[in-house]
Structures are given as structure tokens and as C-alpha cells.
């Protein structure tokens, strides 16, 4: 491209220096805020004022950060679920539905089992049953993918809608097991008190956030050091090499997808043992499953980066929501614009990691002497 006297070229990099991996996302964040600022100014809000309010409500105030961490907890899990499947080039788009099933499964365990269990086992059981329910929800797509090569993208996505209607049916469509029998108002039946965590103080952060972060660390270590992690990396890189080395691709595909489903199910279970305490249709409104895919993509499928990105995203949500109740209310759409711009710039920014931007002065074309 030539602008004026300058020629702007992209030149492929042979190697990308390490700092670029951090600089590109950081830079895209700045650009996203600039774009958001333009929208804010156009709608008659002060960008600086709005952003400082957003940052305070989302991250820097005590109430803000605890709300953010609370929202980030299940988001870390769905983000890990997406990142984990992608390690083997599998696209699990069904975190949303698997999370709902995790909520249903854990609520069932919280109602039916927790009363019969010793206190210390109640919460772990609820979490594990929730994870298992999430895994179960991806079983069919996983088997179809492993045995017949059916695209897991389509099958996991479609099952999201089934799961969505399942939750709606349990709460709004029937008077079954999951519905609160004590009131005619449609809401979920509460789990046993022993099946719930207490939040830290009066905040909205629950101990599950520690589990989520530890999970990210454990996954990182496991995938780096274990034979399972090694085999998935070989398979993801070159299925023919895996076949050459005698690896069992059916088994690998199945276990990766099932584990990814379990992580997404865990997100739903953490919602139950934490803030909800029941099957809560409120979860259907937040879209944490889909957001998890975005988080994983932004984090470049790195488990540690998933944690940071999830917190960043949750903060944008929390801060964005609180802007609506200021004296000059900012529409929630601005927060969505910001999220969208972050994603757009981060993915677009890849081009600057892979290529070097060169700006050269063009010699004015002169007659060769």
C-alpha cells in the first residue's frame, strides 16, 4: 500500500519475539478502548469519566473486584473447557449447554444426595456430579466425532438449544423435581445448605474461585508433563504422526471432549454451590459458555492466560452493568461494543505478531540515468 511518499508493507516474521505475545493483546486492549471512546463521545458521554467509573466498578473498588471474581469463576471453567478441547484441534462449542447440564446435575445431587452425606463430602460430591453431567452432555457428539468423524462443532452447538429448553422446562414448563414446591412462583428448589459454599464475607466471591485457578495450574502442568498431554500435542500437530506412533485417536478424542464437557459442567456446578443454590434460569441470560470460547481464543488457548482474560472480561461485564445506574446512564451496549472490539483487535493484532510492519519512503520515480 502506498500513501503519499511512503510505502507500507507487511513482512512475515521468521520468529516472533516473546514480548510480542504480551504486547499485541495489550495494544489491542488500548485500541478497543479508543474505539469504545469514540462511541461514548458520539452518545454524549465523557470517555475518560466513563472509563474511570468502569474501571472502578469493575476492578479497583473492593465491591467491584469481588463481583468480578465471582462472575469470572465459572467463566474461567468454560474458558478452560474450550482451551482444553482446542489443544487437540477439537472445537467444543457446547460449553453453554454442558454448563446448564452441570447446573442441573449438581442441583440434583445437592437436593437428593447432600443430605445423606457428611458435611465435608457434600460440596465435592455436588461439584463432581455437575462435572459428570457436563461430560455426559458431550458424550454423543464425542462418540460421533471419534467413530464417524462427524463435526463436533455442529453437534455440540445444537445440543446447547436442547439444554436451554431442558432448563426452561424444569422451571417454567413443569412442576417436577427441580421446581420449588413451596411457592407458585416458578423458581428452582433450593439445595441442602451443606451443599453450598459461603462467600468470602459479604462479597459475591466464593471459594470456588480458588478451585478454578488451581484447576488452571493443574491443567497446565498435566498437559505439559504427562503422556496424555504429549499424545494430544502430537495428534493436534499431525494425526498421521500419531497414527505412525500407534496412538489411539478414538480414545484421545473421546477423553479430550469428555474432559472439556466436564470442565464446562463444573462451571454450572460452581454456580449452584456458589451464588444460585438451585437450578436458576438466570444463568441462561449471561452466556458464560459462549463467552468462555471467546476467552479461550483471546487467551490463545493458554490456561494461565484464560484466568486473566476471564477476569478482564468479567470486569467489563460488571463495570458495564453498573454504568447503567449512574446519573448519565451509559447503555449496556457500550460494554458489549468494548468486548467485541477487544476480540476484534486481539485477533486482528495477530497479523502484527506474525508480520513486521515496514514503512519505507518511496523514491520519487525519476528517469534512470
Amino acid at each position: 500500500m502506498i500513501i503519499g511518499n511512503f510505502r507500507i508493507e507487511l513482512e512475515p516474521r521468521l520468529t516472533s519475539p516473546k514480548w510480542l505475545y504480551a504486547a499485541v493483546p495489550a495494544g489491542s486492549l488500548v485500541f478497543a478502548f479508543i474505539v469504545g471512546g469514540v462511541f461514548l463521545a458520539l452518545t454524549g458521554h465523557s470517555p475518560i469519566g466513563t472509563y474511570s467509573s468502569l474501571i472502578s466498578h469493575g476492578y479497583t473498588s473492593t465491591k467491584g473486584i469481588t463481583n468480578t471474581l465471582g462472575l469470572a469463576t465459572p467463566l474461567i471453567c468454560t474458558g478452560l473447557a474450550a482451551a482444553f478441547a482446542f489443544r487437540m484441534n477439537l472445537f467444543n462449542i457446547g460449553e453453554e449447554g454442558q454448563m446448564y447440564l452441570g447446573m442441573i446435575g449438581s442441583a440434583w445431587a445437592g437436593i437428593a444426595l447432600a443430605g445423606h452425606l457428611p458435611h465435608v463430602l457434600a460440596v465435592p460430591t455436588v461439584l463432581i456430579v455437575g462435572a459428570a453431567a457436563g461430560a455426559l452432555w458431550v458424550l454423543l457428539p464425542a462418540v460421533l466425532r471419534a467413530k464417524l468423524g462427524t463435526s463436533e462443532i455442529v453437534s455440540t452447538l445444537l445440543l446447547n438449544y436442547v439444554a436451554l429448553n431442558l432448563v426452561n422446562y424444569f422451571i417454567f414448563g413443569s412442576r417436577g423435581f427441580f421446581r420449588d414446591p413451596t411457592t407458585s412462583f416458578p423458581q428452582g428448589r433450593g439445595v441442602e445448605e451443606t451443599a453450598r459454599f459461603h462467600s468470602f464475607g459479604t462479597s459475591n466471591t466464593y471459594p470456588t474461585v480458588i478451585i478454578a485457578v488451581l484447576l488452571a495450574v493443574a491443567l497446565y502442568w498435566f498437559m505439559k508433563r504427562s503422556n496424555f498431554g504429549y499424545e494430544t500435542s502430537v495428534f493436534a500437530d499431525s494425526p498421521n504422526t500419531a497414527r505412525y506412533a500407534g496412538m489411539n485417536s478414538t480414545k484421545l478424542t473421546l477423553s479430550v471432549l469428555l474432559f472439556s464437557g466436564a470442565l464446562a459442567g463444573l462451571a454450572g456446578a460452581m454456580y449452584v454451590v456458589g451464588p444460585a443454590g438451585k437450578v436458576d434460569p438466570g444463568l441462561l441470560q449471561i452466556g458464560l459458555g459462549y463467552a468462555g470460547i471467546v476467552v479461550a481464543a483471546l487467551a490463545r488457548y493458554n490456561f494461565f492466560a484464560v484466568v486473566l482474560t476471564a477476569i478482564l472480561f468479567a470486569g467489563l461485564r460488571v463495570g458495564g452493568a453498573s454504568l447503567q445506574i449512574s446519573s448519565n446512564p451509559v447503555p449496556i451496549a457500550i460494554a458489549v461494543v468494548l468486548q467485541g472490539s477487544v476480540l476484534l483487535f486481539a485477533l486482528g493484532g495477530e497479523i502484527f505478531r506474525r508480520n513486521r510492519l515496514r514503512i519505507r519512503r518511496v523514491q520519487q520515480v525519476s528517469v534512470a540515468s
Partner: protein, 505 residues
Amino acid sequence: MGSHRLGGATLFALSARQVTKRFPGVLANDRVDFDLLPGEVHTLLGENGAGKSTLASVLCGLYKPDEGAVLRNGTQVRLTSPRHGLQNGIAMVHQHFRLVDRFTVAENVVLGHRNLPFRLRANDLEDQVAQVAERFGLPLDPRATVGELSAGQRQRVEIVKALYQGAEILLLDEPTALLAPPEVEKLFETVRAMTQAGKSVVFVSHKLGEVVDISDRVTVMRDGRVTGSVARGEADTRKLAELMVGRDIDLSPRRSRAAAQETLLQLDKVGLTKDGIERIANVSLSVRAGEIVGIAGVSGNGQRELAEIVAGLQAPTSGEILINSVRVNGMGTRHVRKAGLAYVPEDRLGTGLAPSLSIVDNLVLTRDRGFLVDRKSALAEAEAFIKQLEIKTPHAHTATRKLSGGNSQKVLLAREIFAAGDHSRVLVVCSPTRGLDVGAVEAVHKLLDEARSAGKAVLLISEDLDEVLTLADKVLVLYRGSVVHEVAGTEVDVEAVGLAMAGLS
């Protein structure tokens, strides 16, 4: 020689003057001069990455040179595209053919021709194509579907296409890579017919042997520069190799020095029928410790299937395979490996190695791994290999795809021959030097020779006949899935082997 001299001054059909072409991180052509006389066969010889294909691409208009000029009949031309090159009578036949499989020969030939009549008459076109083909001694049926043709026939379609479009200068990029010896001979006849008609041919090649036969002149390139230009008669392979590599190269035959020992690999009437087609028919052979048995043949005659059957990737539909006297039919790669087989597949990067994984991780591939992968000993092993085999790499954690072909092949061979704790005594190797530089070929041959001296039984399956003849103690020819010729390595009649490869014995 068909050089045209006009009043003492030579008018070159095509020249490059001080052509420089850069790619990110690479200086592909560094002030290259090249001249082509009318009616001349001029070979551009060099290793992979020497810059010969880049130069050819500049000459045909595919690349624009960063500096320097291209001259056609003594006047400078600024070629902007291959089509523009063609308007100047310059055409290139690429190594990988650019034909539409479902079209007929005639349709492919006229494809992209600008001045076609609005209504195409198939008969007229076919007659025209047949005429062009006949004039240059290219036997070709214009009505045949291209998808059903052999590699040699497809190449003829490409050549006819270039001639039909009025090419005076033909650039052939690695034209013999896919051909059987008789087809190569036929190609050479065509090339001679073209030069007799006053056309010039640029032959881009890294194969020393054939170059000497066909060329009027050879220009050798190394690292983007021209290292020498030699006329017919002055060129011998040893000198050319030295110009190519920059040092003396030994590609003389290597044979077993010890007496033959016990049989380690045995195939007994092995057959494979897939989708109703017989891919491998009744193949019996045995390989003893300390010998190399070579299987020659043109690509696609069952080599791949045979290798995969022995390696346990496919199960044979009939017959027996014995490794160390243990029957291993269809037992899967892990078991076959346990039985004592190491396998170097044809596709180094993508089957034998995981391209994005490091050298260390690729050494781990065939090991017994517990729950946790032990990379410490693999790292030590990788570093030892890098030192011993002179593998050029920044460090042991470099991804194998970043290595050159020769270096990644060294990694693969090292793992399959020398890996610690590996007790395999049978080695199956497929086209181990395909696409490698002369220097790397020498290194790979030395490694295979070492494996033989170490008492391994080596089955070498290669489409490169020279390679088989250089290394094998026993030569078998595979044609349409059957062994059609068998001879001791020291008693080979090259012509008979060539005929067998073409199915004419």
C-alpha cells in the same frame, strides 16, 4: 550445438543481468547472470534453496526481480506476470502440474488461451493439439481425460500446452522428478526435437547424472550465486558436484562388507487387496542382518502400501510377515515396533516427525512413556545426536519443521537407528533422500551404511533408482504391486532394471 552467431556477436534468446531477489530472511538470487542461446539446452543446477527455481520464476515473469534486468533477444523486458512472459514466448512447466484432472488433454491445452473462438469446436481443437504434439514427437491422445494419465503423460500435456501457446523458450522445473527411466529418455527426445526447431530449453535440476546427458551448458548455483558455468564436454559429475556443494562429495556405491547373516525380515506371499483392487500381489522377500535390500520402482506401484504393511499400519489380506521369526501380520505399529522394527516413512515431516514439536519431543515419540514424559534423558540424547550427526539447529528445542530437509531426516534416522533402549534390528526406509541436497544425500547414505554395518537388516524402498543402485546388496523391482525383477547389487544391468520399472520386462 545450435548456437546462432550473427556477425561474431552472440544474440541471446534470454538473459538475466545482475538479477537480485530477496525474500524475508533470504537472499534467493544475488546478482545472478544467466544467458540462454537460441536452440540450446541450458541446465540450472543447484541444491535446494540455491536459488535456481527463483531465477526460473524471475525469467518466466512469476517473480519481479528486486534489482537487475531480464533481456529477451537483447532488449530489456519487464515481465509482470507469467501470461506476460508467455506473450514474450517464455513458458514454464512447474514441478507440480497445473492441470484440471476432469478435463480432456485438448481442453487443458487450450485452457487460458486468449484468442479462442466464441464457439468451441472440440474436433478442431483436438486436431490442432494433435498437430502440435506430433510435430515435437509427443505421443498424446487429445481426447484422453487428464486425471487418467501417468505423470509422464501429464508432463507432455504441460509441454504441448506451452508450445500451443507459442512458447519459444521452455523452462522445465525438475522435470524428471516423477518419471521412470524410459519416460526420462522420451522427455529427452522431445527436448532435442524442440531445440532442433530452434526453441531453447532451460532445465532446472538437482540431479547430477541426467544433467550431463542432455545439456549443452550447465550453470551451477549455490546460496543464490552462480558458482560456475560449464559447457558440454567439460562437465563431469564430480566437478559439478563440487561446484554445487562447495566441497568434494563421495557418492560412490557402498556395499555390505561382511558376510550375510541370519534372516531378520521375511515376507511370504504377501498380498493386499483394497476396494477390489489388488495393490500388492504375492510379494516374497527376505532381508538378512547386515544387508540392504533395495526396492526400486516408479512412484505409485505399491511402495507405500508395502512399507505400511511391513510397519503394521495396514494389515495384509494374504501372506505372512515375520520379524525375527515372529509373525506380525496386522498387529499394529506398537507391536511391530516391539517385535524389532524401525520405520522411516517417506513423508518425514507429517508422518515420521511431528512438525511443530521440538527435536526432543520427536525423540520421545517412539519411546515407552509412563504417566509422565521423561524429557530429561531425551534432551541429553537429542544433544548427543546434534553433535554426532552435525544436525544444524539453534538448539534441541527447535521445532523440526524449522530444520532443513536434510537435518530433519537426520533427526528421524537417528531416532530410528540409534535411539537408546531401542533393540530393533530391522529398518524399513522409504525414499530417504527425496528432495534432499547432494550433501545431505551423502550423509543419509552414510547413516544407512552404518546401520547395515551395525548388523541391521535394512529394507530400502526408493523411487530414486540411483539411490537403490548405490546402496543395495540386492535389488528388487516393484511394478503394479508385484516383484518383477530381482538381481544382486553387484550384477545390476541398469537397462534391464529400467525396463522392469516401466513394466516392459
